[in-house]
């Protein structure tokens, strides 16, 4: 009897606490629509809300922040030109600290409380996959500007992405490596605790073999490692002519330093867009000179439209835009384009128009969606490090 009483008390405390929690949440949600209602009366049609899903304070904060900056500029441009179908765009932003549980809560908020028409993000494949089922079920369009791995758009008809896929960039780069640079003996290094790297390595390997190259050695590293002497020694013994590395810039830079330290002076690194950060040469210094990577965006040799974008971006943010800026900008523009084409801001309607977009001249390349809603972005930029900066090596158009 006493025991059950005690349990009763604990449970009632719990209930009270959970009610207060719910109460707080509700109270916070309610005033917002009222304020908006007032605003709406002042300036008719309601703003179309776009959710920004990304990381602003966690491990992938750079991707999130840059995507958001690009999106903000796109929204400014759209609203400056009178909006879409007479409505302005408005960004609803939320930081998930690179935490899947928090990201899942955020998209529930986007879909059900904020009533967004589209979610842009997340730049990583993992969180995109964790949030897409919820967004798809809520009948809201999601465009990930950065999820390059497999199994994303298969989740549902509302899920899109706007980025150069590993399966497009990887084979193109390996084709160039084996056939144009003429290196047949390849050392393939994978960061096994990095999903992006594991996926890309499989694509690289297939590309090397298809073009008649040979993978003479496969080595594994871990993201966060700082000593690569063992792996590099093995690479040296294998007689490889080039190192293909599918991981990120930090490990890439350190591996190349070790390569030079062990006396291999003419071997270079070829990698994916994971190498695209100044950290690569800040860590690697002269050791990474000549390294090659592919990317979906380069500020060099721009088309006139892209040149304008770069100039305006520099004026606004005081720096040159990178891939994530450009992809974030384009993602918002693609939503606007789809709404215009469909003549409706209802995600149920404009998702079909979005899937039909062909050859959209974005700042991050020409974008088309294929029959499976996968993006095909052209061209692929092959970049090379020269004097601690990426310089354009070659623009390779992608066949649809």
């Amino acid at each position: 009897m006493i025991k059950s009483k005690k349990i009763f008390w604990v449970l009632s405390i719990l209930l009270i606490l959970s009610l207060t929690l719910v109460g707080c949440g509700g109270a916070k949600d309610e005033p917002a629509p009222k304020e908006e209602a007032k605003k709406e009366e002042a300036k008719a049609p309601a703003a179309l809300k776009i959710g920004f899903l990304g990381d602003l304070t966690g491990d992938t904060a750079m991707y999130g922040q840059n995507t958001l900056d690009g999106m903000k500029m796109a929204v400014e441009d759209i609203n400056g030109a009178g909006g879409v179908l007479g409505s302005n765009f408005e960004i609803v932003e939320a930081d998930h600290r690179y935490d899947k549980a928090e990201a899942a809560n955020i998209v529930q908020k986007f879909v059900n409380s904020d009533k967004v028409i589209a979610v842009i993000g997340d730049p990583t494949t993992g969180i995109t996959k964790a949030t897409a089922p919820i967004i798809n079920q809520g009948n809201v369009v999601q465009i990930s500007a950065g999820a390059t791995g497999p199994g994303v758009v298969e989740i549902g008809p509302y899920i899109f992405r706007n980025t150069l896929l590993d399966s497009v960039g990887g084979p193109t780069t390996m084709d160039y490596l084996v056939n144009e640079l003429g290196w047949k003996k390849v050392a393939l290094i994978t960061a096994v605790n990095n999903d992006f790297s594991v996926g890309l390595s499989a694509i690289f390997k297939e590309g090397i073999l298809k073009n008649g190259g040979e993978v003479v050695i496969e080595e594994s590293v871990q993201d966060g490692d700082t000593d690569f002497s063992g792996q590099v020694t093995n690479v040296k013994k294998s007689g490889a002519e080039v190192i293909v590395f599918s991981g990120y810039y930090t490990e890439g830079g350190l591996i190349m330093k070790e390569v030079r330290k062990q006396g291999m002076s003419d071997i270079i690194m070829v990698g994916g867009d994971g190498l695209q950060a100044p950290t690569f040469w800040e860590l690697g210094g002269s050791a990474v000179e000549g390294s090659v990577s592919y990317a979906g965006f380069s500020p060099e040799q721009p088309t006139p439209e892209v040149e304008k974008f770069i100039e305006r971006f520099k004026a606004k943010y005081g720096k040159a835009p990178d891939l994530f800026h450009a992809q974030g900008y384009d993602a918002v523009m693609l939503v606007a384009e789809a709404i215009k084409n469909a003549n409706s801001a209802d995600p149920k309607v404009f998702k079909d128009a979005l899937a039909k977009i062909q050859d959209y001249p974005g700042v991050s390349g020409n974008t088309s969606f294929d029959a499976n809603r996968e993006p095909i972005k052209s061209p692929v930029y092959l970049l090379q490090v020269k004097d601690s900066n990426w310089t354009l090596l070659k623009k390779v158009p992608v066949k649809k």
Binding site: V10, I13, S18, Q222
Partner: protein, 305 residues
């Protein structure tokens, strides 16, 4: 079984489920670290074992959720037994390091096992952790913990925490009790992990790193080591604060950290550490409804141990 589902707005419901899952995991750790005083820094590892085991049962075998839940709990419990048996002979810092190491080993294994998708992880896990299921499990776990606390077993664990040599002198087989306790704690972590897997729908090894263990430990310490209502409160506060503070966007995590520091300054024993909540509530109810308690008894409600 759909009693509570859809009762709350989906955003709140989603947060409530997350809170529930963290309550379960924090209660498991509270048994190990709070009640028995064995500092474990690898709780997320047991959570990941439960999550992966349940996901495999759901995905590969297509079995109902209840089996997935049990599989998650049992798998984590088995690992708890394997790891607990040798390591629980260690105490204090040594145990902390051993559990920390185990956490890293599990993460590395998950990264390197193709059967669980390596770094890419498992995706497409069905959504089963509804509010009703989570709520029922939270109630069951709280009930279990209350039963343990008030049993001979629970008092033996408390004795081990206070002084294991003295406990041994009183005839308590400390090793056996510690291992039993550890298996129960990790079993609960596995259940929490299974719920997590069927809410988030995607599992990646990087979600179960050292920081996740610390996050759960935070909840226990903030709420009050050894206090069940405290742990529950700690889980609720730490899971919902980031959402409540969302209005302050850029300063959110700053505020979060500041709140933690302030709370540790003013309540070093945790929010409800050393507070006997059941007594406190009974007292206040009695005093409102006209109690027959004497003043002497009222003073017995103590704060701090």
């Amino acid at each position: 079984m759909t009693l509570l589902n859809g009762l709350l707005p989906p955003y709140i419901e989603s947060i409530a489920i997350t809170v529930g899952i963290y309550i379960i995991m924090a209660l498991g750790l509270n048994l190990i670290t709070g009640v028995t005083g064995q500092l474990s820094l690898g709780h997320a590892a047991y959570m990941s074992i439960g999550a992966y085991a349940s996901a495999i049962v759901s995905l590969q075998l297509g079995m109902p959720f209840i089996f997935a839940l049990l599989a998650g709990g049992i798998a984590a419990g088995i690992f708890g037994l394997i790891i607990g048996y040798p390591t629980l002979r260690l105490t204090g810092d040594y145990l902390a390091i051993a559990t920390l190491g185990f956490g890293e080993i599990v993460k590395s294994l998950l990264f390197n096992m193709p059967i669980v998708g390596g770094a890419m992880g498992l995706a497409g896990i069905p959504y089963k952790s509804t509010l009703t299921v989570t709520f029922i499990l939270v109630v069951i776990v709280i009930w279990m913990m209350l039963r343990v606390e008030r049993s001979r077993f629970g008092r033996a664990l408390l004795a081990i925490r206070e002084d294991d040599i003295a406990a041994e002198c009183y005839g308590i087989n400390t090793s056996l009790y510690k291992v039993k306790m550890f298996v129960l704690g990790t079993f609960i972590a596995g259940i929490g992990g299974a719920l997590w897997a069927h809410k988030i729908m995607v599992l990646q090894p990087r979600d179960f790193g050292f920081m996740k263990s610390i996050e759960i430990l935070n909840m226990v310490v903030l709420g009050g080591l050894g206090s069940i209502p405290g742990t529950v409160l700690g889980a609720i506060v730490l899971t919902s604060i980031p959402e409540v503070l969302r209005f302050s966007s850029d300063y959110r995590m700053l505020l979060y950290g500041a709140l933690l520091v302030i709370m540790m300054r003013f309540r070093p024993n945790g929010l409800l550490g050393g507070v006997d909540v059941t007594k406190l509530v009974k007292k206040s109810i009695k005093s409102i409804t006209g109690s027959n308690f004497t003043n002497k008894e009222k003073k017995k409600v103590k704060g701090g141990d």
